[in-house]
Symmetry: C2
Subunit: 443 residues, 2 copies
């Protein structure tokens, strides 16, 4: 409050029917407003008080709507939106070796990555996603698309010991990734992860370098881990231990690690993840669709392992839709544990927001509606007649609503999507470019 008790000037006051701040957990506020200034949440308070205390440049009233933090997609390969649904229903090995990898070898390029990432950004913004954690080749081209879109992203600097169109060997991948980080380190919406692709594509030596770099630079490590039974069997043959134990031996496990998938975990794996404080990026649609298995979500929760949610790519999902992933994660947890109370709605909402922010080391800036954090928000309308009646807005978001009910997405206080239309992406041009890529891929 200013000294003379005059209302403080702010940029924006949002007055929805409900606010779900995520912190504290399990709370749904009615009759409250969110005050935003200079891209930052400055207050969350009863609407009556807000009217007295603030003089906003813009005031948005959203009856029947919920405001919650922008959703965070903890694992995707955004560029692969151009392969949405490519070779669906093929067995995993055929899909990878005869379809996806050859298509990537033929087409992956900065242009492919730019268009594919822009398409992914548009789709994610339309579905209330404000931040994503990406892993793909040519991250500089992705950075360009992300910058245009207005989204926030944690770019995974991919590293493998195999050559691709993008880089020749592990050192080349690392050099290219770190050069991008140096060039973009002041970007207000970009952060970085080291992204060794997977235990079966990265050598011990490279993993050790990555562990050292992660500690030196204080950035997370984002890797595929224990996705399939086959991966673990092959690892035991080659290394004598399961991948998680190998990574533990190499110094990779800890709160800086984001283990993507974590589908196949024995009791020792579960303890190892828990004791080291690793984060898990659950990708339930992708794990099921690729026949990898059923992610043990309720078990991970029982072990207090913090889980975020990821869509994986549109080639294996085929939607970049965290509403779908929240619903599926909650349903799977309940079905597998045979306990309807498992993974309740507020847990699913937290997984899709704050837990992912923590995993990315960004929880001081995003993931919950706490004054001082960035105004990364989405508004979801529960007014649709198909959602009536509504007894609980939080569980309605998870079990009844869908991304089609998202009406607004703000990043750092800027409205980046309204009524299905991203503000900074020219959709007709994007669709034209997408169709050109589709023809090339089909040819």
């Amino acid at each position: 409050m200013n000294p003379e008790n005059l209302p403080a000037m702010i940029d924006l006051l949002i007055h929805p029917e409900w606010i779900i701040p995520i912190e504290p957990r399990g709370v749904t506020l009615s009759g409250h407003a969110l005050a935003v200034n200079d891209g930052v949440i400055v207050d969350l308070l009863p609407f009556d008080e807000a009217s007295k205390r603030y003089s906003p440049k813009e005031k948005i009233s959203l009856p029947g709507q919920v405001i919650l933090p922008g959703l965070i997609n903890l694992h995707t390969h955004a560029a692969l939106s151009l392969l949405r649904g490519y070779a669906d229903d093929s067995p995993l090995n055929t899909w990878l070796t005869q379809h996806i990898w050859p298509a990537e070898a033929r087409h992956a390029s900065p242009d492919f990555v730019h268009t594919g990432t822009l398409l992914a950004c548009a789709e994610m913004l339309a579905g209330g996603i404000t931040t994503f954690s990406d892993m793909y080749f040519f991250p500089a081209a992705a950075a360009k698309a992300i910058d245009q879109s207005g989204m926030r992203a944690a770019l995974g600097l991919v590293v493998m010991d195999q050559p691709t169109n993008y880089a020749t060997d592990a050192d080349d991948y690392l050099a290219k990734g770190l050069a991008l980080r140096d060039a973009q380190k002041d970007h207000p919406r970009l952060s970085f992860c080291l992204a060794p692709h997977a235990p079966y594509t990265v050598t011990d030596k490279t993993f050790e370098k990555i562990a050292t770099l992660s500690a030196q630079l204080d950035i997370p490590v984002h890797t595929h881990l224990h996705e399939t039974r086959h991966e673990i069997e092959e690892a035991i043959k080659q290394h004598g231990v399961r991948p998680l134990q190998r990574l533990d031996n190499l110094g990779l496990l800890g709160p800086q690690l984001i283990a993507v998938h974590a589908v196949h975990l024995n009791a020792a794996d579960m303890d190892r993840l828990s004791h080291t404080g690793c984060h898990v990026a659950l990708c339930p649609s992708s794990n099921l669709k690729l026949g990898s298995g059923l992610p043990p979500i309720a078990e991970l929760q029982r072990h207090n392992i913090r889980c975020g949610l990821g869509t994986d790519s549109a080639a294996s999902n085929n939607r970049l839709d965290l509403f779908q992933e929240m619903r599926l994660a909650a349903l799977l947890a309940k079905g597998m544990s045979e306990d309807a109370a498992s993974f309740p709605a507020h847990h699913a909402l937290q997984a899709a927001t704050l837990n992912a922010a923590c995993a990315l080391g960004l929880d001081h800036r995003i993931g919950s509606l706490v004054p001082g954090k960035a105004a990364d928000l989405c508004a979801v309308s529960l007014n649709d007649w198909q959602l009536q009646p509504c007894f609980d807005p939080a569980s309605h978001l998870v079990y009844a609503a869908s991304r089609e009910n998202v009406t607004h997405t703000w990043v750092a206080g800027i409205l980046q999507m309204h009524q299905g239309k991203p503000k900074n992406i020219e959709l007709p041009l994007l669709i034209k470019q997408t169709r050109i890529w589709q023809s090339r891929i089909n040819s």
Copy 2:
């Protein structure tokens, strides 16, 4: 073709981008048209020929869209839409005994059923569903709502050995159900099933009567079966055998039986379902959400047991959305079998159409786009930029599209829903009535 080779007059010619007729399986036609006259499909042929052969009163061109048979919801309790999301995330026993059953005891009435069923019909039509198999009290009130909506339905004539607001004992339930069937047996869009609620609410004597009646009247029997582990354990205590074996002993198993849920099946159960030719109504969202368990979809397929899909009620789903169920069924089958090729898209589409028609004994009239069958259809737009690119319309329907992409729903050749708006249901009035029920339920 008429004798002089002049184009035949018909009511409607639809020319979409793709047609998925379901029969034969796995086929997606391009450049074809569907000819409809007097509510019936009269032809499915290349568009060029159709233009010469038919002179339609109305011609609808649908570029970028798919026409497929109207979806069939093989199990729901439509009236419970008024309890959508009521007491979400409660453990099953608490949910039933402390929330759902008391709410039903307080509120279930012809008025409740009429409003709830109308709300369900509106939602289903908007999502491309043309027929549903219902099980609830006061089916005469449901019949009134269905008649108004223009939908097709198989009304389950519910029977229990417990008294409710609706009936006093098994004979009373049966008498009321059969009286409704007598009154409505000439309705062009209504059919009937005998619907003993479940093995734990129906005595041997009543089941035997139902078996006799089903044979006499030649109508299906629709019952909840092997939904939870608890149900089976209690049945063994009480009857000494598993419910499926008990029903087999009582003469209930056969092609006339629709076993709803079938989540917990041992090898003998699976053989029993297979050898007797029973149909299964899978309700994956509900089974997971209520913590009942994981329906063994891939195993059922391996045993050649014909499975349709149901939403169950909006109290345990919370969407009456067969796009969601197709996706979830396909994903669960793949995830549980660890085989990405399991339950491919065309199987999911068949489960949601023809298999359900067979289960209801209606496959001579609905379930596939075959000349002579009723023109029960839906049109789905794959033009949405969020669905680009599209490599395969069939798998796109299952994995990428959602009910929000349905644009038209026809029942017997009549357009009953267009762009989210049911033709015969006044939405503002329906929402008002829904809100009144919500207040009563909350009070």
